[in-house]
Amino acid sequence: MPLVNFTTREITCKIVYYGPGRSGKTTNLQYIYGRVPETRRGRMVSLATRTDRTLFFDFLPLELGQISGFTTRFQLYTVPGQVYYNATRKLVLQGADGVVFVADSQARQLDENIESLQNLQENLLEQAVDVRGVPVVLQYNKQDLPSDLILTPDEMDDALNFRDAPSFPADALNGAGVFETLKGVSELVLKKLSEETPT
């Protein structure tokens, strides 16, 4: 559950970008980092290998602004997508208030997407969290690639989105869909928070 400070009227939410290796999780955060004014964001922390593959996580703190009189902050994390980093993925997933699943739209990456989605469910279950209770949105990244290489958003929905979660086509490198995805997960996280507390 998001951390709520009633004394200083602050809400802090943890959002994790999950998905297979090279699907564009870090690219989402880099785009956000580049677009948001310095006064509204902190330093982007990237624990990466020498070839820029995420080793542990990327982290970007954002000041969203005032919502219902609370200063609202988001902590955006990515997990390492490569299969053998599952131990660190589990650590980053701890306490997530919302998840963005970044799928690679390339047809040849479909199995990796499915495997990663199953891995998300397993890792949540291991922490006694039912995936149905966690706000999740899907992002179908790399929709800018030639159409013969990729699946359409509808095809991606058919293959991955069996829970009918909000889904967003994207080209994270150029920013298309990045904002909409963040907005989508923010809405779900705050909606859940508004439902969990007495009004």
Binding site: T8, K14, S186
Partner: protein, 156 residues
């Protein structure tokens, strides 16, 4: 900005006492997932969050290593630099496990920090209420404010 702040007021007194006695420059108390519950010495909220994310990652990854070699966990971690030392430890309270990240300088020492951390852990455990009553947080019609906040964030 006040030097010492806490999400829940019961943490203030033990933290202020610890900072004074251990002569700590910066201190964070957080949940295992890196959410900050109390802090001393940081000025920007976004800097606090980065430090907490990294501290929680160190503690949780070290715990996994401990488990892999058949240890229950390590009591504390300390990294000693030329000008600063970083001390990380955890403690259990009735509300769950808390992590602490302490940065100290030449006016203090790892021994002093460790000694007073034990007091801090005990005092937090004693002061911790069993349950915090739920209060209303955000109203159901938050969408307009969220949209405006995100639009201004992205310069739209």
């Amino acid at each position: 900005m006040k030097q010492t702040r806490a999400v829940e007021p019961w943490m203030m007194e033990p933290l202020e006492r610890f900072v004074t006695e251990a002569d700590a420059r910066l201190t964070l108390i957080m949940t295992p997932s890196g959410q900050v519950l109390a802090q001393h010495g940081f000025t920007r909220a976004v800097d606090i969050m980065a430090a907490a994310a990294l501290g929680a990652a160190i503690v949780s990854s070290t715990r996994e290593i401990a488990s892999a070699i058949g240890e229950n966990g390590f009591r504390a971690l300390n990294h000693q630099g030329v000008r600063h030392g970083v001390f990380l430890s955890e403690t259990d309270t009735p509300r769950g496990r808390l992590l602490a990240l302490v940065v100290y300088g030449s006016e203090s020492s790892v021994g002093l920090v460790q000694l007073f951390f034990e007091d801090l852990a005990r005092e937090l455990n004693e002061a911790c209420p069993q349950e915090i009553p739920q209060k209303a947080v955000i109203s159901a019609n938050f969408e307009r404010e969220l949209n405006e906040s995100l639009a201004s964030l992205f310069g739209r």
